[in-house]
Symmetry: C2
Subunit: 124 residues, 2 copies
């Protein structure tokens, strides 16, 4: 499973968990249809509370990354609806991120190198 949580981070645990799973999907470490550990099992593995995992799963479900089957439990199921909404969200976040990059004197080439590298990693 390999979920890494930074307990000294200012980012919420459930948020880190969501990000890790989304990162896992993008890097094909998680495949469509793959089962996720139960909320209790995942909580035990990481050493956190069941409800924290449940919140992450609920968020991922609402965002269309996870579905639940009573018989099987939670599993990866990527819903590719809302491409335009996703583009708008990415654009907004990108705008903030690149603003800070520019202020820090990162160049256009610096940015493109990073984007290219990550796209390659994700097989885009």
């Amino acid at each position: 499973m390999l979920i890494e949580i930074d307990f000294s981070s200012d980012e919420a645990i459930y948020q880190q968990l969501c990000n890790q799973i989304i990162l896992g999907i993008a890097t094909s470490r998680f495949t469509d249809g793959e089962e996720l550990p139960s909320v209790r099992q995942m909580a035990d593995e990481i050493g956190i509370n069941m409800h924290t995992v449940n919140k992450a799963y609920t968020v991922l479900k609402q965002e269309g990354f996870v579905k639940v089957d009573r018989r099987r439990g939670a599993f990866i199921s990527v819903d590719d609806r809302n491409k335009e909404r996703a583009r708008t969200l990415v654009e907004k976040n990108l705008r903030v991120l690149l603003a800070e990059a520019r202020c820090r004197k990162l160049t256009r080439s610096d940015i493109f190198a990073l984007v290219e590298q990550i796209c390659d990693e994700y097989g885009m």
Copy 2:
């Protein structure tokens, strides 16, 4: 000044304020050396508490976007130290952002188009 705060957002007000100012610097709406409204004046303009503005200024000061002179008050002063740390931070955030983009079926071209557009806006 033109600071826009979304009070229904889940993003903290002081964080939105920081982002707006960084965005302003990147788009040259704020120039190096330009004075910022005092914490009390800015708070009045936006309709929020003085301490919320003070927190934003303090964060920006720590991050090297703002300096303070007793005589003049707060003003823009971009410190371009820590380019490598900035690159690491951008890379980490970019990785999460592009992971979600990929899951939403945004293509490499989609991403590059967005990055190109924003870089152009910022004159990078």
